[in-house]
């Protein structure tokens, strides 16, 4: 379901509260992950559940042009809540596959159920191919430097982690599908172009706080601004998704080159 955006409405007031609310919830989760503060998990869950309920209620009451934006905010809150409470199987690899499956199903159901603003097709230029091939290398090194050794705390150096690289590419694409293809696209009907890019990037960075690294959240925010700008110019999820997938593929090489692998 798609509809044409005739004129963009001003930034919905409720979103001005919902985005920082979600960010605070994720920041509290960061306190739990990085500092082991048990209260952080409870506070984070309270804030995220509150933001989720408010976003759903706003979605139920919103007019057509802003309902997708509220729905997208609820989707991000829901994703964060599921990430927090998903029971673990004992294997990080299996957990990651289950989590990705849940997120992809939620995003697909969202796009099918909620009317989305139509995108104008844009013809890509030849230079776009160079961007797809070269930008991921630079992003991967920045990502590896910001993530540091935290990656190997979760996925120990060895064959299983290396075999996981194709899945990481899939995850990278899914992340773009969620934050650019759903969130930014939904926001773009309810606010200006840069407001949509900035808001989607803020939610993207907030979710990445679940890694327990502020540096990585900062990287995610800056990368999201860049990829959001590319998405707004190209209107192509395939384009930014491929860049992100290649970035996550190059990441392992960047770790090894930077000497950040054990």
């Amino acid at each position: 379901m798609e509809y044409r955006v005739v004129n963009v409405i001003p930034f919905p007031r409720a979103l001005i509260a919902l985005i920082p609310w979600t960010f605070l919830g994720c920041a509290a989760m960061y306190a739990y992950v990085a500092l082991g503060a048990r209260d952080g998990a409870v506070a984070g869950m309270a804030l995220l559940l509150g933001a989720f309920v408010m976003a759903v209620a706003c979605y139920a009451a919103a007019e057509r042009r802003s309902e997708a934006a509220y729905g997208a905010a609820a989707l991000v809150c829901g994703t964060a809540i599921v990430t927090a409470v998903l029971p673990t199987t004992g294997s990080m690899f299996v957990d990651a596959v289950v989590l990705l499956t849940v997120i992809v199903i939620a995003a697909v159901l969202f796009v099918r159920a909620v009317p989305m603003p139509a995108l104008r097709p844009v013809r890509l230029r030849n230079i776009s191919m160079a961007v797809v091939l070269l930008l991921p290398i630079a992003l991967a090194f920045a990502q590896a430097a910001s993530l540091g050794l935290r990656f190997w705390e979760t996925f120990p150096l060895g064959t299983p982690s290396f075999l996981f690289v194709p899945f990481m590419a899939l995850w990278g694409f899914a992340e773009e599908a969620l934050f650019r293809g759903v969130v930014q696209r939904s926001f773009s009907a309810a606010m200006g172009r840069w407001s949509a890019i900035f808001s989607a990037a803020a939610l993207n960075a907030a979710y990445m706080l679940f890694w327990g690294s502020v540096m990585y959240a900062v990287f995610s925010f800056l990368a999201a601004l860049l990829l959001g700008h590319l998405y707004a110019r190209t209107n192509s999820l395939m384009y930014v998704g491929t860049i992100r997938a290649l970035t996550d593929t190059w990441l392992i090489v960047a770790f090894l080159v930077l000497g950040l692998a054990f």
Partner: protein, 54 residues
């Protein structure tokens, strides 16, 4: 990039399931709720409870 599931299921799963299920119910009754005055109350209650918990 892959975010780690936190595995907080034992402690907080019940609360999360109840709240999310209630929200889905709210969506199912969306047409009625659109005209009802209950939504601002729901939003206000969620804000107060969430802020006090946070």
């Amino acid at each position: 990039m892959i975010v780690r599931p936190l595995g907080l299921a034992d402690e907080l799963l019940t609360a999360a399931v109840i709240v999310m299920a209630a929200s889905v119910l709210l969506l199912l009754f969306r047409r009625r709720s659109r005209s009802a005055a209950a939504l601002p109350i729901i939003i206000a209650a969620a804000a107060v409870i969430s802020a006090s918990g946070g």
